[in-house]
């Protein structure tokens, strides 16, 4: 490939017949860099190597080693046909061939004999459409990131106000956020009955930031008392979950927003326990929404591994052991199993110090998810 940056892009021509490749290369090489493959295996190697640096693939179907359908199938499995357009070029005008090509994700089908002007025109149209689509996706991604940043900004300020008053570091909110996300994603992988979309996860994690918002109704002397709380002080301390839920419920005009529901339930129930021993309502088992259970576990883990006025920080291993052994109340066995599987990942992620890392990650997930939903992939 002559690496000429003044050209409009790179086209991969996959055809086992020299003269066919030459015919196409001759039509296109003034405007495009050309890569050539003499069979399906070579074509896939080049595709995996250059990925989206390839602007378009011209694909013959009947080839040795791997045929064109196999190339399309593998591209599909790697979600590449949505990123790199494939035009099939074949002497087969039979409709089952064409149908199969389209089903596997080809955008266009050119039958022999073809003319120079028609091939050029269809290639330019296809490349333009794909690059516009890619540009649009980038814009949507940027908007999601920026919207998420704005959404999270005020929530973060609010959460920090609460933490500041508690004498906690601003990292607690970030940690609860991150651990909740890791737990939810693992739960979904392990148990198909739990399903959250990327935007639901995003809303839950944002809502988790204000789980302790009710603490602003708790007097500072109690909040920051280094010694053991008296029974009546502890009762006031415990009132923060109901107080927080009441604050959320009193916000008017957003009743239909899923995030308000998440925030209400997280504030109210993040101290409930699986066996019903928690507060304020003493609900148990599946009565506690699974995402609230995840926030509870995240809250407990981070409280254990952080220093507080009344305690030193435990190390990761000790905290994990204490949670597993039920020293911080009972948890859902499924959630505990999940926690065991991802505890290394949690420890690793505690080094993240910016909420924007997780916003970016979640925005990418949202884009990927919406892309896969709209494209239907053929079964193999």
């Amino acid at each position: 490939m002559a690496d000429n940056t003044s050209k409009k892009g790179t086209i991969l021509i996959a055809d086992d017949t020299d003269i066919n490749r030459e015919l196409l290369a001759d039509m296109l090489e003034d405007e495009y860099n050309i890569l050539e493959a003499v069979n399906g295996t070579e074509a896939l190697e080049l595709i995996m190597k250059h990925k989206t640096n390839i602007s378009l693939v011209l694909l013959d179907i009947v080839m040795p080693e791997k045929d064109g359908f196999e190339v399309l199938g593998t591209m599909n499995a790697h979600h590449l046909t949505t990123k790199i357009p494939v035009i099939i070029i074949s002497a087969e005008a039979a409709s089952p061939y064409i149908e199969r090509g389209y089903k596997l994700g080809a955008v266009d089908y050119i039958t022999r004999p073809f003319s120079k002007s028609a091939v050029r025109h269809r290639i330019i149209t296809t490349i333009t459409a794909y690059s516009e689509k890619a540009a649009l996706q980038k814009k949507v991604y940027e908007q999601i990131v920026s919207r998420e940043r704005n959404d999270t900004l005020m929530v973060s300020v609010l959460a920090n106000v609460v933490e500041f008053r508690n004498g906690e570091s601003g990292l607690h909110v970030l940690h609860v956020n991150t651990i909740t996300e890791i737990l939810l994603r693992h739960l979904m992988m392990l148990y198909p009955k739990y399903h959250f979309t990327a935007s639901q996860i995003s809303a839950i994690c944002t809502a988790s930031s204000i789980h302790d918002i009710g603490k602003i109704a708790v007097p500072e002397e109690i909040l920051n008392k280094p010694g053991k709380l008296t029974d009546s002080e502890f009762a006031i301390m415990k009132s923060h979950s109901e107080a927080g839920a009441a604050m959320i419920a009193s916000v008017k005009g957003y009743e239909q927003e899923p995030m308000m529901k998440y925030a209400y339930e997280i504030c109210r129930w993040h101290h409930e326990r699986w066996d019903g021993s928690g507060y304020p309502d003493g609900i148990s088992g599946d009565e506690i929404p699974i995402y609230v259970q995840a926030v509870s576990m995240a809250d407990v883990y981070d409280a254990l591994t952080s220093a507080r006025v009344y305690k030193d920080a435990y190390d990761h291993k000790t905290a994990v052991r204490m949670i597993k052994e039920g020293e911080c109340g009972s948890f859902n066995p499924e959630l505990l199993h999940c926690f065991t599987l991802c505890e290394d990942r949690i420890e690793e992620n505690m080094k993240e110090t910016s909420i924007y890392d997780s916003i970016k990650r979640r925005s990418e997930d949202a884009i990927q998810e919406s892309m896969y939903e709209e494209s239907s992939f053929a079964e193999f």
């Binding site: 017949t17 020299d18 003269i19 066919n20 009947v62 074949s90 002497a91």
Partner: protein, 119 residues
């Protein structure tokens, strides 16, 4: 021999082929490339070794090249042979198809070899 005379022997339209390939110079260039195309030899070899898949691919390639270059006679016989090989085995009556392809191939190669250069 000029291109017009050649295309009479090939059984195709020079006008259409020139239209697709943009110039007579290109037609001349690709016809000469056809002399080095291995599809026909591959077809012969794979029939000898009894490799039906490879015979199908070779006949199919030959047919495709003929379509692009406007080699009408050879397209017709290689297309019929391609369809006969499509089932994945070499048919008992393959010889008749193969002889027809060979006759058209030899005639095309002969005509192309006698072409006057096109500048």
């Amino acid at each position: 021999m000029n291109l017009t005379e050649c295309y009479e022997i090939l059984g195709g339209s020079l006008e259409d082929t020139t239209g697709r390939l943009a110039s007579e110079k290109n037609v001349y260039k690709f016809l000469n490339m056809f002399l080095n195309d291995g599809s026909y030899n591959l077809l012969t070899d794979s029939l000898e070794s009894g490799n039906a898949d490879e015979a199908f691919r070779a006949a199919h390639s030959l047919k495709g090249v003929c379509l692009n270059l406007g080699l009408g006679n050879l397209f017709k016989s290689s297309n019929e042979f391609t369809d006969a090989l499509r089932a994945g085995s070499i048919p008992d009556d393959y010889k008749a198809y193969y002889d027809k392809v060979t006759a058209d191939y030899d005639s095309a190669v002969n005509a192309i070899k006698q072409l006057d250069p096109v500048e």
